[in-house]
């Protein structure tokens, strides 16, 4: 079953814009945990989804300055299984009056659904927890051991050996090179930019410099994509605390308002739309919804966090939403426009390519730091509006966030 069949994204109505704000953020120790897992030091047992969730929640609660009893709503997203929300509440000594239903795990549905629940009066303050012990449980991607072979999924193409998420991005990049006359070295610029961003974030997993030479010498995973074109696999958790906007002032940090959201899905010709149109119709439609809900034009977005499952997929976002024309994304990156001082800083914490594979949640955590103006050396100067965008192979989910007011 597709994760989107589990829930419906609320309509992006302007009435719900800026009615809820993120007031607390917590992340697990992505860098330290990855190093420990790689080193397999004696006595190291690795994390469980539960232990990671506790770490992220306690940090978010402390960050918000709220009391435990202020948390009256809870949404849990254990990507590969975990305790129920009720069991999680008990584990965290919470007594929520509202527990959210299934939201799909990845950071697409949970935030709009939490905003809707807060607006409806179901809760005032919701803790949203995402946790995945992806590496510790030995999750492998691609191959024959997952999936039903439904015609909409790549598992249907098994007899031809076509499998894995990476293969989607490989076909897109091959088609992009043929269409726009680019070479493999051109794509290295995206991996290098993201690595540079990660190196300004001590909690990012990857901290060593990347060069074009190192990129080209790296192994192919699915040619023409190299190792550095594909996201990390690691354990971790993120917690976001979302509160009714008029109760979000005067707390420990500047609130980060949820301004808008959108959603568009591919309805037919999935591979054609993905590879040859690079989801442009879906980026355009969902972005228009989110911007209209927030009441701003795209030109007011000063910082962007896009789902970088692959380097080329991040370029799909930049071009698809209309920050640059189709075919211009790699030159945009190469000329430094995606850097911290560029015209559109992108994935300032290193994304999932070099930061941490948190399925969009770490992108939103970085937006919170940016809009609070607490992002340290990665801080985008005077940023007031940020956009996140989560897109897999057939869905796009953008979110608009705005720096709120303390008083």
């Amino acid at each position: 079953m597709s994760y989107m069949e589990l829930f419906k994204v609320p309509d992006p109505t302007p009435e719900l814009s800026r009615k809820s704000a993120i007031v607390g953020v917590g992340e697990s120790d992505f860098h330290a945990d990855y190093q420990a897992a790689r080193a397999k030091a004696s006595g190291y047992e690795g994390h469980t989804s539960e232990s990671l969730a506790v770490i992220a929640f306690e940090r978010a609660l402390a960050d918000s300055g709220l009391k435990r009893e202020d948390i009256d709503g809870l949404g849990v997203n254990y990507l590969y299984g975990g305790p129920s929300a009720e069991e999680t509440a008990e584990m965290l000594a919470l007594k929520p009056k509202h527990i959210m239903g299934p939201t799909g795990g990845i950071c697409a549905g949970p935030i709009p659904l939490a905003c809707q629940d807060i607006a409806s009066g179901a809760a005032d303050t919701i803790a949203l927890i995402f946790s995945a012990a992806t590496r510790s449980i030995g999750r492998k991607f691609g191959g024959q051991n997952f999936g039903s072979g439904a015609p909409s999924s790549y598992y249907y193409h098994h007899p031809w050996g076509w499998s894995s998420q990476a293969a989607h991005w490989a076909l897109i990049w091959q088609h992009y090179m043929a269409t726009y006359g680019k070479t493999e070295a051109d794509l290295a610029s995206v991996a290098i930019q993201l690595r540079n961003n990660a190196m300004r974030n001590p909690n990012a997993i990857m901290q060593s410099p990347l060069t074009v030479e190192k990129y080209l010498e790296s192994r192919y995973v699915v040619r023409p994509l190299h190792l550095f074109d594909l996201c990390l696999v690691n354990d971790g958790a993120v917690c976001l605390i979302i509160r009714k906007a008029d109760m979000a002032k005067g707390l420990a940090h500047v609130p980060v308002d949820v301004g808008g959201w959108g959603h568009a899905a591919v309805k037919s010709d999935k591979l054609h739309t993905l590879v040859r149109e690079r989801l442009r119709p879906q980026f355009q439609e969902s972005g228009r919804q989110a911007l209209e809900m927030a009441g701003i034009p795209l030109t007011e977005v000063q910082h962007f966090e896009g789902y970088d499952a692959s380097t080329i997929h991040l370029i799909n976002h930049i071009e698809g939403h209309g920050f640059v024309e189709p075919g211009a994304g790699l030159d945009f990156c190469k000329s430094g426009e995606m850097d911290v001082n560029g015209s559109l800083p992108v994935n300032m914490a290193g994304g999932i390519l070099s930061g941490s594979y948190m399925h969009g949640w770490n992108h939103v955590a970085e937006i919170v730091r940016q809009l609070r103006h607490e992002a340290g050396p990665s801080q985008v100067k005077d940023v007031e509006v940020s956009m996140s965008s989560l897109a897999q192979t057939d869905q796009v989910h953008p979110l608009i966030f705005m720096r709120g007011s303390q008083s």
Binding site: G161, A170, I172, A178, R223, H272
Partner: protein
């Protein structure tokens, strides 16, 4: 030589496709209402929603619109790496993921013309004919 391949999806509808392959024919669904073809197998036409669909033998001709080579061994040894996959736009419209029969990654050019051919394969469901593409 018979190649071992990862499992096909079998069952109602899917079996019609593989029965066509066994006869050396590429058969996919065509909508009786809007005449458009669909692949992979669908329950209702993804273009107009009609449920009146019939398997028709198509030309087997198309062009390569993208391609890749698997280096990572996703199938744990079942398919020796590296091996190539091609994304073919069939003359009738749908996209068909397949493998090259008489050429390889470095021979491919954008929009190269190809036509279907069949090779011997087997999976957990037994021996079958697998449609792949050669230069046209």
């Amino acid at each position: 030589m018979t190649q071992t391949r990862p499992n096909r999806t079998l069952g109602p509808g899917h079996d019609d496709f593989w029965e066509g392959c066994a006869k050396g024919e590429l058969r996919i669904q065509q909508c009786s209402a809007c005449d458009k073809h669909s692949w992979p197998v669908v329950g209702t036409c993804e273009h107009c929603g009609s449920a009146v669909l019939a398997f028709k033998t198509i030309s087997g001709k198309g062009k390569v619109v993208s391609w890749c080579s698997f280096v990572q061994d996703y199938y744990r040894g079942m398919m020796p790496v590296p091996y190539d996959c091609i994304m073919v736009e069939l003359a009738e419209g749908p996209i068909f993921m397949s493998n090259p029969a008489d050429f390889a990654y470095d021979d491919i050019t954008f929009n190269m013309a190809v036509e279907v051919t069949f090779i011997d394969a087997e999976d957990a469901g037994g021996p079958f004919k697998l449609p792949v593409f050669r230069r046209d």
